[in-house]
């Protein structure tokens, strides 16, 4: 073999970079368990729930995939809405049924999937 002093280390660096998730997950970071779905959701809440604007609550699978669009939609329709008058209502309307805590209902999945938490809480009060 020619130039093995350069080629072998180069190849080793490449293999280390490519397999980064494998050795990093097993040796460096502690991979947590996947968060439970719908923590603390009361069974009677599953059916017939509605949003403050009267819209029907979509099924769980659809919410999981599209909740950001749904929330964005509510946010846009509620533009003229006086949040100060209603206190914490907008954010509490999700959390009232879903566990009542941002950490449990929002952050558990967002942290697991490394998705940035949106800036809801810069305006809305944290429940």
């Amino acid at each position: 073999m020619y130039d093995s002093g350069k080629i072998i280390p180069g190849l080793a660096v490449f293999v280390l970079l490519i397999t980064f998730p494998i050795w990093y997950n097993n040796l460096v970071c502690n991979v947590g368990a996947a968060p439970a779905k719908d923590p603390n959701l009361a069974p009677e809440m599953v059916q017939g729930a509605a949003f403050p604007n009267g819209q029907k609550h979509p099924p769980a699978a659809e919410m999981r995939a599209t909740h950001m669009d749904v929330l964005q939609g509510i946010h846009v329709t509620a533009k003229g809405y006086n949040a100060a008058k209603d206190g914490q209502k907008p954010t509490m309307s999700c959390l009232a049924c879903h566990g009542g805590s941002k950490e449990k209902f929002c952050d558990s999945c967002h942290a697991y999937a490394s998705v940035k938490t949106p800036d809801c809480w810069t305006c809305h009060t944290k429940p």
């Binding site: 073999m1 190849l11 998730p21 991979v31 947590g32 996947a34 779905k37 940035k116 949106p118």
Partner: protein, 338 residues
């Protein structure tokens, strides 16, 4: 034919994954077995190809130069186009690998009225090549958020930069690289159809990676922006983390489009080491780029040269003297008397 067959092959691969992942029990095959096999083929095949190249001798010292080489001290030389030291070679290699310098130098010959032969720079290939490669790199690095169990600084940074078009909710923002990779790929494909000379030399194995990459980009874009239902990020991350920690789990109810995406990526990985895509490793090992232009300073010996001993006329005559005298050929030294 040379473009129809690869297109049909990519569509067939997508259909295999789409139909297959809908058969109960087959999710394990498409979600676990195929990705593992593809990764083994990719890493193993890549190392095998590189080691195979490392075993091949470089018979001649063949750097390509395109600037004034080292000569007299008062002749201004071009350090990066005709490098003589290791540092200069590193600079040249960096510009080649990170900036695609040889594509940047591309020229096009045309005949103007006169007739006059003129050369003009054409950098379209450079532009679309670099758009594709860097978009691909950013997208690959962004995918680490699905494969790694903790937040990575470079993923967070890339998501912020890449998603600058912003929308207040980052999940909805358009990633610029998602659009640019398609622009790059479609332009590289269009080039093979529209430029007559390029079309003539294009083969099925030029079209196949392009169609495959377009398929991967399209399924990814569809999943992120359009067909979101059934694309549960938590379930997908569970699958990805399971693969990396060797405790594979297949969460139920992941949409077929995800399996199509994963299967096409697996095909790309498995195909990679045995195709032209190996230029990723090959660019580091191309003798025309990585040798210094120092053939007048250092002697390059062909490693496969046979061992040829010098054979002087005197020793030649010693060997054949008797025969030469017999044939009447004059000799410098007669046969010893006696």
């Amino acid at each position: 034919m040379k473009h129809t067959f690869p297109l049909v092959a990519v569509i067939a691969l997508a259909l295999i994954a789409w139909i297959g992942s809908n058969i109960p029990g087959m999710q394990y095959l498409f979600g676990v077995a195929v990705p593992y096999a593809a990764l083994i083929l990719f890493v193993g095949g890549f190392c095998w190809r590189v080691l195979d190249w490392a075993k091949s001798p470089v018979p001649f010292h063949i750097p390509t130069t395109c600037g004034q080489g080292y000569s007299m001290p008062w002749v201004k030389r071009d350090k990066f186009e005709a490098p003589v030291s290791t540092g200069e070679v590193l600079g040249r290699m960096f510009m080649e690998i990170a900036l695609f310098r040889s594509l940047w130098r591309n020229t096009k010959a045309s005949i103007k009225p006169g007739p006059e032969l003129t050369y003009t720079s054409t950098r379209w290939l450079w532009l679309f090549g670099i758009l594709f490669h860097y978009s691909m790199l950013v997208i690959l690095l962004r995918h680490f958020r699905l494969f790694v169990g903790s937040e990575l600084f470079f993923v967070t940074a890339l998501e912020a930069i890449d998603g600058f078009t912003l929308n207040p909710t980052p999940e909805l923002s358009l990633y610029v690289t998602d659009a640019l990779i398609l622009v790059g790929l479609v332009a590289l494909l269009a080039r093979r159809f529209l430029i007559k000379t390029v079309n003539y030399i294009s083969l099925a194995n030029d079209y196949f990676p392009l169609f495959l990459l377009i398929g991967i980009a399209l399924t990814g874009i569809l999943m992120r922006y359009f067909l979101r239902s059934g694309v549960d990020i938590v379930a997908i991350k569970q699958l990805a983390l399971g693969l990396t920690t060797f405790k594979p789990v297949v969460p139920p109810d992941i949409a077929s489009i995800f399996y199509v995406h994963l299967f096409l990526v697996s095909c790309l990985l498995a195909y990679f080491p045995f195709s032209k895509l190996m230029h990723m490793g090959g660019v580091f090992l191309s003798p025309t780029r990585n040798l210094a232009n120092d053939s007048r300073m250092r002697r390059h010996v062909n490693p496969w040269n046979p061992d040829i001993r010098p054979h002087s006329y005197a020793s030649y005559e010693d060997e054949f003297r008797a025969d030469m005298i017999e044939q009447g050929i004059p000799v410098e030294k007669e046969l010893p008397q006696g």
